[in-house]
Symmetry: C2
Subunit: 357 residues, 2 copies
Amino acid sequence: MDKPKLFTVGPTYVNEDVREEMKRQMFSHRSSDYVKLHSELIEKLREFLNTENEIFIYTSSSTGCMESGVRNMISDGGTGLSTICGAFGKRFGEIIEQNGRKLVESEVEWGEANRGEQLDEVLSKNPGVEVVTITHCETSTGLLNPLDELCKVAKEHDVLTMVDTVSSMSGTRIEIDKLGIDFCFFGVQKCFSVPPGLAIAAVSKKAMEKAETVKNRGHYFDFLNLKKYNDKNMIPYTPPIPQMFGLSKQLDMITDEGAGNRFYRHSKISARVRNGCKDLGFGVFPDEKYAAPTLSCISNPLEVDLAEMNSKMKERGFILASGYGKIKDMTFRIGNMGNVTLDDVNEMLENLEEVVG
Amino acid sequence: MDKPKLFTVGPTYVNEDVREEMKRQMFSHRSSDYVKLHSELIEKLREFLNTENEIFIYTSSSTGCMESGVRNMISDGGTGLSTICGAFGKRFGEIIEQNGRKLVESEVEWGEANRGEQLDEVLSKNPGVEVVTITHCETSTGLLNPLDELCKVAKEHDVLTMVDTVSSMSGTRIEIDKLGIDFCFFGVQKCFSVPPGLAIAAVSKKAMEKAETVKNRGHYFDFLNLKKYNDKNMIPYTPPIPQMFGLSKQLDMITDEGAGNRFYRHSKISARVRNGCKDLGFGVFPDEKYAAPTLSCISNPLEVDLAEMNSKMKERGFILASGYGKIKDMTFRIGNMGNVTLDDVNEMLENLEEVVG
């Protein structure tokens, strides 16, 4: 019971090698030791992300990247468009408004995917939109939006794209440059299985050029200041060095596994989760055509007492995630991000069968 | 040579117990395990800081707290006053301007302290000032500003105070409530000797009330949102859980040492550093009456080749800090923050004598 199996939706289970790596002694963030850590991490990220874009290291959670994107890529008082199909897309829109920008929403029912056609319509009606936000994997509904068609439409309208890949990056293939994503960001505590406290973003040349024209970008999340220090393999303030060591180690382990194998593993295991749950009489909350490969949002037609179920599963050493937002009480979620294996999932499903059976 | 003695000015040397504690397995930041960690940490901080103020946990460096204070405590378009006696006070002023607020500077020569009399004059001439920023320990010049007289003047003018205690908190006594500090913040990688990635702020009721009147506070650093989650023993996004474990452990160790003993240790050791350096023919850069108890900024009348000196010291396993900002080339700095002992300093000074002798 020391180490329950985490099927949460982040922070995820961190293996011993990564945690051991994070134990290293500290050093100054203005030293040659730090420059080495920073430059090697950027190099590994560049290879894994397969992008020519600028890669920033943030001392923040991914939510900080959202604020950064909004303050740098939408003019002060300008307009951003949020595609929304769940709680995290909704919040992205709120962050736009809270930073004094205007918001246009392109929303669908929870459980459905945001589609290109609707985005095209909304953009056509709102020619002033500067940026479209896309939640790749909507963690509240377990849904993976079709990034290719959404990015294609955004490009046709010549608007910049900010893509939240928080719960998809390293769990499925994302072609940043091919899709033309201008701001692609994620934390390390989901599919990378590194403890939280570090976020990463890849920023296109166009996004950097836009930032130069935007006033009131602030200091902490300012692209231009981040770039100035990134050129010296530093960040403007103190970075979360332990998590950087952890991510660097994890990227080595991903190389060993093979990125393609990793994506396939996530996809196969999430299908096993969904099918296993359906076998027990549960349902899949989102349109299954768009079901996420990294977590499953499970509906409850049997009206099982979910709080009791989660509690019994915890007693057995398996931590599942509750529902989120307005579907909190009618769903539960099973994450399979990061280091979760098929054996882990089979064992969890066997226990789930005993608990609800 | 595995573990050089860090006499840097942060991140500082982290002892084994703290790093071991940070190795704990992760869990969801919306779980009862997290609520326990959060509430216990706040309780320990409340005891150590001896304050009734709201205590916030930030997933950021201390620079993020500066942005937070500025966006919440100065009206959008309003005016802040920065007291400046070095690079970090100067930057605090820049952060005010970069967030679209107006700036008034109250500046003295580097090496001198900001004094109450000057602040009183500048505040009298600028009745529109809403907030005064104070850099308690100016890390670029190794100077500790007289917090009591500065806070007293600010109170007389009925303006809010934001105090940067980044390189002083836990190295010297700071009476937050008695001085009436409205926003007191610090990181954990200096005198607390915890790896970087976590910052803490104590926010007064007056500062919270002010925030309610301020528009365009953003999302990530919004006091009201932080408070809403703090009431549930959570933060609005993902917290840096390993550093929270580390700080919690370190606060236990500070209790064991005794806070008073810890402050006395810092004071005694920094005096030893300054006297040891003077014995070798170096000077003390700041007005010695205000020399910081946590780091020493050393001037170089002998015109020793400082780069070569630091490099030779590093070969011997002692890491000193370079000068900073406009006095970078004419000074060097010796930190004694956190876990540094008198024996460490004596050993370092013996080696320094051999290197420059």
